[in-house]
């Protein structure tokens, strides 16, 4: 029997096969694993180092951190070429590996002081992408300083926030004895005041001062972040500290003088007479400082 080439079936078969095969050729099973360690130039394992893994074929990137033993694991990766980089405290390491499907590949990174590869001159925002499939972060022309993790700065920011939270809480707590001090001042400064009234006022004032200076300590000692200029309502908050800060030093000194004069049966006179007005300005500035960060203006 002589075989006769089908006139319509063959093109249709080729069409179906090509449509089925094309997506399969691009399919990748993300089941490879990358493991490794990050070590310092002296050979010590580095904990909490940020490790970035970038698929050079697709541009897809993921980030992880080393554990306390300096190890890292990145599971569920597609097979292909990868750039693995690690950075800690200005030290960097970059390595390239090829991952096979279903495989577990180990890469050990030793940090050095060498700078990261710079962004190629062609990778400006308007330059064409080098990839034909997906754009990657390196296509966008950001500087390495913008895209690299800075663990040291994050630690500084964390410390800063912790200290400022304490500052904020103590500042709020300080407001309570401060208000009580102002209220008791009505009975402490008149002609018919008792020694008890004055003592209560003095003790409350001392508690306010102690809390205030503890709160101020946390604000002053909170680390500053390089390259940050002060903008917005926080400027008002800081400026008011130049009023209530000296006021909080001066008010107890003047109060002690006034307390002594009263206990000696004298009328409050001289510089001690400024205790009341200085205290009012100080308390006013303190209240305004609280409001400056609480209300939007």
């Amino acid at each position: 029997m002589k075989w006769k080439a089908p006139s319509r079936a063959l093109p249709a078969a080729i069409l179906v096969v090509s449509l089925v095969i094309t997506p399969l050729l691009h399919a990748q099973q993300p089941d490879a694993t990358l493991t490794g360690t990050v070590t310092s130039p002296s050979g010590g394992r580095i904990a909490n180092s940020v490790v970035s893994v970038k698929n050079l074929n697709t541009g897809a990137a993921s980030t992880t951190q080393t554990d306390s033993a300096g190890r890292f694991v990145v599971p569920n990766l597609a097979s292909g070429d990868y750039e693995v980089s690690a950075s800690t405290d200005g030290l960097n390491a970059v390595s390239r590996v090829t991952l096979a499907a279903h495989a577990t590949q180990t890469v050990n990174l030793t940090l050095t002081t060498q700078s990261q590869p710079q962004t190629p001159a062609g990778n400006l925002p308007n330059a064409p992408s080098s990839s034909k499939t997906e754009p990657s972060l390196s296509d966008l022309g950001f500087t390495p300083e913008q895209t690299q993790a800075n663990v040291k700065e994050q630690a500084l920011l964390d410390k800063r926030t912790r200290m400022l939270k304490i500052h904020q809480k103590l500042g709020l707590i300080t407001a309570a004895p401060l208000i009580a001090t102002i209220v008791t001042s009505l009975g402490a400064g008149g002609k018919h005041t008792s020694n008890t009234d004055r003592t209560v006022h003095m003790v409350l004032g001392a508690v306010s001062s102690d809390l205030y200076f503890t709160s101020a300590y946390f604000a002053i000692r909170a680390p500053s972040i390089k390259g940050t200029s002060t903008r917005g309502p926080i400027r008002v908050h800081k400026a008011l500290a130049w009023i209530h800060g000296p006021g909080m030093i001066l008010t107890p000194i003047l109060g002690a003088l006034a307390y002594q004069q009263k206990n000696n049966g004298e009328k409050v006179h001289g510089i001690a007479a400024a205790h009341g007005p200085v205290a009012i300005v100080t308390a006013g500035a303190f209240g305004a400082a609280l409001l400056s960060v609480s209300l939007k203006f």
């Binding site: 090509s18 754009p135 690299q148 400022l164 002060t230 917005g232 926080i234 960060v293």
Partner: protein, 181 residues
């Protein structure tokens, strides 16, 4: 060449044409605005520093938009530093948004995009986020709002006077894309 052979070659010809017709898009202008609600006041943080690219291939376009976390300005440096701290912005300095769209979507008045967002060391997916499209010559202008929340990225809510902000942080995006070859 006879007709059956021509039909047989059609898919290969179409593939070749599709490869030749690859186009790229560049993000020309972009404004990203996050909104934070606190019992005492509302805050918007704005960034104009986003960059983005789109690569179209075989009828589909892959877009990437990236913006430095530090570039957001809420009008108060203390608040911005606090935002960078809670979002671990020094450790994970970039926010990236990826999406895949049909190339023909550029002709629609509105689209629904599936977004993959990497932020604060986490990846979140948002399905069917609506965007409005307007054409300005060859450029395409898109605007929409991503219904992001703090819990999507495992961010501890920042507090002011011990009161936390709301979990919802909707991010408004307005961008203009320009086609290039």
């Amino acid at each position: 060449m006879n007709k059956p052979k021509l039909i047989a070659l059609l898919p290969f010809v179409l593939c070749t044409l599709a490869l030749a017709a690859d186009t790229q898009w560049v993000l020309q202008q972009c404004t990203l605005t996050y909104h934070v609600s606190h019992p005492l006041h509302q805050t918007d943080g704005i960034s104009h520093a986003a960059r983005g690219k789109g690569i179209c291939h075989a009828g589909q376009c892959d877009f990437l938009i990236a913006v430095p976390v530090k570039s957001f300005d809420s009008g108060d440096s203390n608040r911005d530093l606090h935002m960078v701290q809670v979002t671990r912005g020094a450790e994970f300095p970039m926010v990236t948004v990826r999406t895949r769209l049909l190339e023909s979507a550029g002709n629609d008045a509105s689209i629904q995009a599936d977004l993959e967002i990497q932020f604060a060391g986490q990846t979140a997916h948002y399905q069917h986020v609506p965007f409005q499209l307007t054409k300005q010559g060859a450029d395409v202008r898109l605007s929409g709002t991503i219904p992001a929340t703090l819990t999507d990225f495992k961010i501890e809510p920042p507090t002011l006077l011990t009161l936390p902000v709301k979990n919802e942080i909707p991010v408004r995006i307005e961008m203009t894309w320009h086609p290039t070859q």
